[in-house]
């Protein structure tokens, strides 16, 4: 890899982040929502008379820099970003937006990476095996059977899972990340508790996307199947399993890996509903809440994090892609 390529790639990365953060800023300012009014409204709805509403509004606007002209706000925003400062959360002043986000982040990353990788692995295997010639025909239908799950919206799937497994059969807990009030430490019991609570959320994400992976893998695999190197490998008397893993899958995975980075971003969005249903701590819920309360800085922070995550995933992927596909040289 040449320094020049690395430079170009990094420049693209920075550009993406830059454009995305600008868009971010623009979109949140374009909505007619007013976070401070929302704050006062919420107070009034809970029986508090806010007699000096106008003053409080002005006070907050000033403190949060919302009374500056937009270009100034934009410059401040970008300048702060450079320093890793996302600004105050408007709904939870005086807490910083990054504090709100960073607390939720590990949960989302944990849940998401497990779910994504699981769905990716299982989905691709299913899809590949669906067209692999030496697989019983009945197995092919597994792929088709996985489709209805993808047809049921995440949210409902999660609800149905809760009803079946948590309520009716009590196999899994009703929600949360841990048993309330449990003692936590770095031990097996804690890990077990964690996994027990994560099972249903992960399952609902996995079930919902597995079919899509399977479907596209099925298409790619069917193309790969006719490739000369597969026939040649078979002609050389290689074992079917070896051909499947090192010849067919290894090549068919290449386009899927590219899709993985993009899909990662989409999954983050999908996560919102799952986190709500399972009362699971995470960024999805933070985003949702912030959107409802028009908490601009938190919204910007979360979106920016998502953009960053996806852009970073794509960057890493591009950089390691030559390792996966030796034909690619930069």
């Amino acid at each position: 890899m040449t320094p020049r390529y690395l430079g170009m790639r990094l420049a693209t990365f920075v550009l993406t982040i830059l454009v995305a953060s600008t868009l971010n800023f623009a979109i949140s300012r374009l909505t007619p929502q007013d976070p401070i009014a929302a704050l006062l409204g919420r107070m009034a709805s809970r029986g508090r008379t806010v007699e000096n509403g106008a003053e409080i509004l002005a006070l907050y606007r000033e403190r949060l820099g919302l009374d500056d002209p937009l270009p100034q706000q934009y410059l401040n925003y970008m300048g702060n970003l450079l320093r890793g400062d996302l600004g105050y959360s408007l709904a939870f002043f005086p807490i910083k937006a990054e504090a709100v986000i960073l607390r939720a982040l590990p949960w989302t990353i944990g849940l998401l990476s497990v779910a994504t990788l699981l769905a990716f692995t299982v989905g691709n295997l299913l899809g590949a095996l669906a067209v692999w010639p030496r697989v019983p025909a009945g197995f092919r239908w597994l792929v088709y059977l996985s489709m209805p799950f993808s047809a049921v919206p995440y949210y409902l799937l999660a609800l149905i899972l809760v009803y079946l497994f948590a309520l009716n059969w009590s196999v899994f807990p009703l929600g949360g990340a841990f048993t309330p009030g449990s003692v936590r430490g770095f031990d097996l019991a804690t890990l077990g508790d964690l996994l027990h609570h994560a099972t249903l959320p992960v399952l609902s994400v996995v079930l919902a996307v597995i079919g899509f992976w399977a479907l596209s893998m099925r298409g790619i695999m069917a193309t790969v199947l006719g490739d000369d190197y597969l026939i040649y490998a078979q002609a050389r008397g290689l074992r079917s399993r070896r051909i499947f893993s090192h010849y067919a899958m290894r090549n068919a995975m290449l386009p899927q890996v590219t899709a993985l980075a993009i899909d990662f971003g989409r999954l983050i969005s999908g996560q919102v509903l799952v986190e709500i249903i399972f009362n699971y701590p995470g960024v999805g819920w933070v985003l949702y809440n912030a959107l409802r309360a028009a908490d601009f800085f938190v919204i910007q922070g979360v979106t920016l994090f998502m953009v960053f995550a996806v852009a970073l995933a794509t960057l890493i992927l591009d950089l390691i892609y030559p390792l996966l596909d030796p034909r690619i040289r930069y």
Partner: protein, 279 residues
């Protein structure tokens, strides 16, 4: 070496179309036989199970659910069609031009798409949906299209990139054909099965997205849709109350609809990519 176009009606396609018909025929025509009075408040008892008067029972406001579904389905389909359709339309035009013309246009489109793809769609959707007081199915569709045109654009562009290297395109240029002619009259027909498959996927995605929004309470309340039917079922605790006739039918409809769309798009894939065709 002969190139054959497989006949259109493969078994998978037939199955898909049959499933679609199962949903679309009542979904599109049912609204004309449904009696709007049945959708009114207390048209029947509250939470009545399926019975003679109400084949699919009633919900917690006494509205007849069959009527609700029949009236709601066209709107849901409209969202899918508008959302998926405009995304694919935009994607086709942009993807084709960017892919064929290349140069600056391609650079702009490609980068916009790449950046757009990194921005989480739900964030934009919630933001937009939350910003408008009234959300009609048409608007909902357009809002969804706004966040979903990137994917079609990307895949169509790459298809065109590979097509434009084909010798027949060069021959067409030699024949004095204009770029627009080549893109829309010559390349486009080649991509029809592919576009159709993309369209089918986009419609499915749009419907899923709209349900996600409606379930969050960001949908249209003026007009019945399957999404707000589910939303009301959720806030009415239909599952907890054991009112299966309220939440199950829309889910079954979705499954049938999506399986139909899925089979059709698989069959279309096969048309576009003959290697998928096998025993």
């Amino acid at each position: 070496m002969t190139r054959r176009l497989p006949r259109f009606l493969t078994p998978v396609m037939t199955l898909g179309l049959a499933l679609l018909a199962l949903v679309l025929v009542p979904g599109l025509l049912g609204q004309f036989v449904a009696d709007p009075e049945q959708m009114r408040l207390m048209a029947g008892g509250i939470n009545a199970p399926p019975g003679h008067d109400h084949p699919l029972g009633t919900q917690n406001e006494g509205r007849d659910l069959l009527t609700y579904i029949l009236k709601g389905m066209p709107n849901t389909l409209l969202i899918g069609l508008v959302g998926g359709g405009s995304a694919v339309l935009l994607g086709t035009v942009l993807g084709m031009l960017a892919g064929y013309v290349g140069g600056l246009l391609d650079g702009v489109v490609r980068n916009t798409v790449d950046i757009g793809l990194t921005i989480p769609p739900l964030a934009i959707l919630i933001m937009i949906a939350a910003s408008f007081s009234i959300v009609t199915p048409l608007m909902m569709g357009l809002v969804i299209a706004l966040t979903s045109w990137m994917h079609p654009t990307r895949v169509i562009r790459s298809q065109v990139l590979s097509l434009r290297e084909r010798e027949f395109v060069l021959l067409l240029r030699l024949s004095g054909a204009s770029p627009l002619h080549i893109v829309f009259r010559e390349l486009m027909p080649n991509l029809i099965p592919f576009l159709a498959a993309t369209f089918v996927n986009a419609v499915a995605t749009a419907i899923l997205a709209s349900i996600g929004l409606e379930v969050l309470g960001l949908g249209s309340f003026q007009t019945p849709t399957l999404g707000n039917l589910i939303y009301f079922a959720i806030i009415g605790n239909a599952m907890w109350l054991g009112l299966w006739w309220w939440w199950l039918p829309p889910i079954v409809i979705f499954i049938v609809l999506f399986m139909g769309l899925f089979f059709v798009s698989t069959a279309l894939d096969t048309l576009a990519n003959p290697r998928l065709e096998q025993g």
